[in-house]
């Protein structure tokens, strides 16, 4: 299990290669990448604030729960903070499991919990001004299925 919180960009290809390389037990590797997308008003920048210290602990806790719930060989979470622009990769998760069901479900679980239980806050800067991204009720509802 590896959890990384960083300001710098990450190389998705290299990370996936490193994560999947040399595995002989996992028949399934699932990856998900979150990307900065455009919004009404035209996005100029996205600023991500986080709670240093708690972020790492929260991500480790979420990843540990995923590993105890599904039969995973490994999982990876990378999440960025700081100033991002349109098209930048915000975060990624990767899961490796013997079977795809475990890999897919664990990746979705990681994503659902990252959204509303990891202390990150996004602020969007558009041509019309800037504002904090509001959490969605759906994000909270998404947790209830687990």
């Amino acid at each position: 299990m590896r959890v990384v919180v960083q300001e710098a960009p990450f190389d998705l290809g290299k990370e996936v290669e490193k994560f999947s390389g040399g595995r002989t037990l996992s028949g399934a590797i699932v990856t998900f990448t979150g990307v900065v997308r455009d919004v009404n008003g035209g996005l100029q920048a996205m600023e991500i604030e986080h709670y240093s210290g708690m972020t790492e602990t929260a991500l480790l806790e979420i990843a540990t729960k995923a590993e105890s719930r599904w039969s995973l060989e490994d999982c990876l979470v990378i999440h960025r903070y700081g100033n991002l622009v349109l098209g930048d990769m915000i975060m990624m998760v990767a899961t490796a499991a013997r079977h795809r069901k475990d890999a897919f479900e664990a990746a979705e679980y990681l994503m659902d919990y990252l959204k509303s239980r990891a202390p990150f806050w996004k602020r969007e800067v558009t041509h019309n001004g800037s504002g904090w991204v509001a959490s969605l009720e759906d994000d909270e509802t998404a947790l209830s299925r687990w």
């Binding site: 979150g34 959204k115 239980r117 990891a118 202390p119 990150f120 806050w121 904090w132 909270e140």
Partner: protein
């Protein structure tokens, strides 16, 4: 104890962290103390349903005791991912 603020809570309070030394029982007592201080805290803590609190970096709630707590953080619902 250290009190930390994030996102719009930090903006409304006007600072990222401060030290509060007081004998308090629960998180709610701390909120009341802050609200009595200045208008900016009243604005920041106007609606507790849109606020979250962490005690020593673990998500908690407003009725939780502050016994032995060294760090309290207030912030809006998280928007990671």
């Amino acid at each position: 104890m250290d009190v930390l603020y994030f996102a719009w809570v930090r903006e409304r309070v006007g600072l990222p962290r401060e030290v509060i030394d007081a004998n308090l029982n629960t998180v709610m007592d701390l909120v009341e103390l802050l609200r009595e201080r200045e208008e900016r805290y009243v604005l920041a803590f106007a609606d507790l349903s849109v606020l979250r609190v962490a005690l020593d970096q673990k998500l908690s709630d407003f009725n939780a005791p502050l016994t032995d707590v060294r760090e309290v953080a207030f912030f809006p619902p998280m928007t990671g991912g």
